[in-house]
């Protein structure tokens, strides 16, 4: 295998490869969740793993999110390295008690005695017409909680590389895989491996405006940037990658050169991660700004089923383009 050999791969396969690698490299690793085995995973991420690794390491659980997430925490405390899969972020609310009251607090409550080396993966986001109990973006909400880390892999590299770093982390890490990215296909280095899980990345450099985003919205921002470039506006697109810890240095530095910031977040605006980012810009880059910070967020409504309403409820390329133009042209 040459060093730069590329393979064609989907996001789904990239996550699967990451899980396989972890299972091969560390015998303490196992996968635990609803229908991860015989069914092949509700989004077919873990398909084939049961056959390869057996039922002791690919464990189908009953429908008991609180129970099996708690069991994952216990197993992590007991020396294992569990990967808990929760089908979607909406169902993680049934395990919220275990995640927030146990996983996030144990190290602190025990005065440093007990850390919880646990990884929880779940899908998130809208765009598939799954309505109000299967489509929300609550990752920003989890980012409110000290004691856990929140990752939002958007690219194939991150889908492939974040899991191992999360497993090496001594503390609980939540990984949010956006539903609409699973079928995304592209080229990835055949020997792609672990990536850092604490730095934001500039996915496209630009001088006129910083667009700060993460997850599936990254690709909408990149598409908008391409359109805007055609009109002479150079947008810098920042992929946060992790919402906790939040790498504010990267976007503050970017704003110091662009002097304008637009946040694109599929989550709701009120009290969301976009509000936090905005506040950090006020604290850290207020005097750099040539225009008010703006936000494009999910509409403040439970996700509707009908396609046209769902589209209207989510950030879209067109809105990014129009807002960016207005921001760049109005001022400065």
């Amino acid at each position: 295998m040459s060093k730069n050999e590329m393979i064609q791969i989907t996001y789904r396969e990239a996550v699967r490869e990451a899980i396989r690698e972890a299972l091969r490299r560390d015998e303490r690793v196992f996968l635990l969740g609803e229908d991860v085995g015989r069914y092949g995973g509700c989004f077919a991420v873990s398909k084939g793993l049961l056959e390869e690794f057996g039922p002791e390491r690919i464990i189908d659980t009953p429908l008991s999110e609180s129970g099996f997430t708690g069991a994952g925490i216990g197993a992590a405390l007991g020396g294992m390295r569990p990967i808990v899969e929760i089908m979607t972020v909406n169902f993680s609310l049934l395990a919220a008690d275990q995640i927030i009251n146990n996983a996030a607090t144990f190290l602190h409550m025990s005065g440093g005695c007990f850390n919880v080396p646990l990884v929880i993966r779940m899908s998130t986001g809208g765009g598939k017409q799954l309505a109000a109990q299967h489509s929300h973006s609550l990752e920003g909400w989890y980012a409110h909680i000290p004691g856990i880390k929140v990752l939002t892999p958007a690219t194939l590299e991150d889908a492939r590389g974040m899991l191992w770093s999360a497993l090496e982390d001594p503390d609980p890490v939540l990984i949010f895989e956006h539903q609409s990215l699973l079928n995304m296909e592209g080229q990835l280095l055949a020997n792609a491996g672990a990536v850092d899980i604490d730095r934001a990345q500039i996915r496209r450099p630009g001088s006129d405006l910083s667009v700060i985003t993460y997850g599936a919205s990254l690709f909408k921002a990149l598409e908008a940037a391409e359109i805007l470039a055609g009109e002479g506006i150079e947008v810098e697109v920042i992929d946060l990658r992790a919402l906790r810890p939040l790498d504010d240095a990267t976007f503050l530095t970017s704003i110091a050169s662009t002097h304008r910031a637009l946040i694109v977040d599929e989550g709701w605006r009120s009290g969301g991660i976009s509000a936090e980012i905005c506040a950090r810009i006020m604290e850290g880059a207020f005097y750099e700004l040539d225009a008010p910070v703006e936000r494009i967020c999910g509409a403040e409504v439970p996700m509707p089923y009908a396609k046209h309403l769902e589209e209207a409820a989510m950030p879209q390329v067109e809105a990014i383009v129009t807002t960016a133009k207005r921001m760049v042209r109005s001022n400065g």
């Binding site: 092949g40 189908d60 429908l63 799954l130 509409a299 403040e300 409504v301 209207a312």
Partner: protein, 333 residues
């Protein structure tokens, strides 16, 4: 506790007209679901679509036992329950098209059928989340001195959730008129009941909460109806919960994205032979209560209804995007 083994009424004589009504109801559901599957492949219906083909006898038999003032709470696999409860095929179809003429104005889709006129409280797509709702509805009835029954449908998968156990306990502890109906189709997605439960005799779980319970052959609509009527009488009269396990089977995939790796074709075929519609048709014909002509007439009547429902959905309108954030809070005026 009066936990019974699955009983069946296969020998009993039945009223011709009533039998035709039951058959008609089951055919409505079957053909509606088949049409839905077709419309899904045509991308008229989107999102998740869960069909109840094979389970029609449970929806029909149970809803026959309810009074108009009773309430119903169901799951995401609820088209059959909704049709049997009396929501029009047109309103459900339009909902799945996402049109504002749908029973939930196109905001819910297949998994979130709601209707105030028939007191149909969803269409709940978080497994187990309907059970506490049913407990609360019954609590309100009790507090306000109404003798209504709240019927709560849920799958075998929900039994593993804490909410099942919490709800059973509360309903028993507070003496609430909840009719718990477990649609046990042996699988929760790809997880067979025996892979999810240490005790697979579900009636024993109800018994452990001091809730009267029984299990019936859910493939036989007459048996389900008889058991449901008896159970509903007890709930209404005693103001106590009841747990009915209906043993049934889904003939189709869990949803439209399921390659069914977890069960054999032979198993599905075996159950299909016991399908609720073939079973009833065979029995009625044997007893001389149904002719081929009558069956054909029923089929035609159903076909017309479904055709009208599709036309209604096709002709429906999209809610204006300006209304996107309506119904987040109540509109007062």
């Amino acid at each position: 506790m009066n936990a019974k083994s699955p009983s069946s009424l296969s020998g009993a004589q039945v009223d011709r007209e009533h039998a035709h009504h039951l058959l008609h109801q089951m055919l409505r559901i079957r053909r509606f679901e088949e049409k839905s599957a077709e419309l899904y492949t045509l991308m008229k219906i989107r999102g998740f679509l869960h069909l109840c083909i094979g389970e029609e006898a449970v929806a029909v038999g149970v809803c026959e036992a309810l009074e108009p003032e009773d309430g119903v709470v169901a799951t995401y696999r609820e088209h059959g329950n909704a049709l049997a409860r009396g929501i029009s095929a047109s309103a459900i179809m339009a909902e799945m098209y996402g049109k504002q003429e749908g029973c939930s104005r196109g905001r819910g889709g297949s998994m979130h059928i709601f209707d105030d006129k028939t007191r149909f409280y969803g269409g709940n797509a978080i497994v187990g989340c309907g059970l506490p709702l049913a407990v609360g509805l019954a609590l309100a009835d009790k507090m306000q001195g109404r003798k209504r029954v709240t019927c709560c449908f849920f799958g075998d998968g929900a039994i593993a959730e804490g909410e099942f156990h919490e709800s059973m306990n509360l309903a028993a502890l507070w003496h609430l008129p909840v009719f718990f109906v477990c649609e046990n189709n042996l699988y929760a997605m790809g997880t067979a009941l025996e892979r999810a439960q240490s005790v697979t005799d579900l009636v024993r779980k109800a018994a452990s909460y001091n809730i009267a319970s029984s299990a019936v052959d859910g493939m036989d609509v007459l048996t389900v109806e008889a058991a449901a009527k008896e159970a509903v009488n007890i709930v209404r009269r005693e103001q106590e919960p009841y747990f009915l396990e209906c043993r049934t089977y889904r003939f189709r995939a869990h949803s439209m994205f399921d390659p069914e790796l977890y069960r054999s074709k032979a198993e599905v075929e075996k159950w299909k032979k016991r399908g609720p519609i073939v079973t009833l048709v065979k029995r009625l014909k044997k007893q001389g209560l149904l002719s081929d002509v009558e069956l054909e007439q029923l089929e035609q009547q159903v076909a017309r209804e479904i055709e009208e429902a599709v036309a209604f959905a096709e002709n429906g309108t999209w809610e204006p995007v300006e209304d996107l954030t309506r119904f987040v809070y109540s509109e007062r005026g």
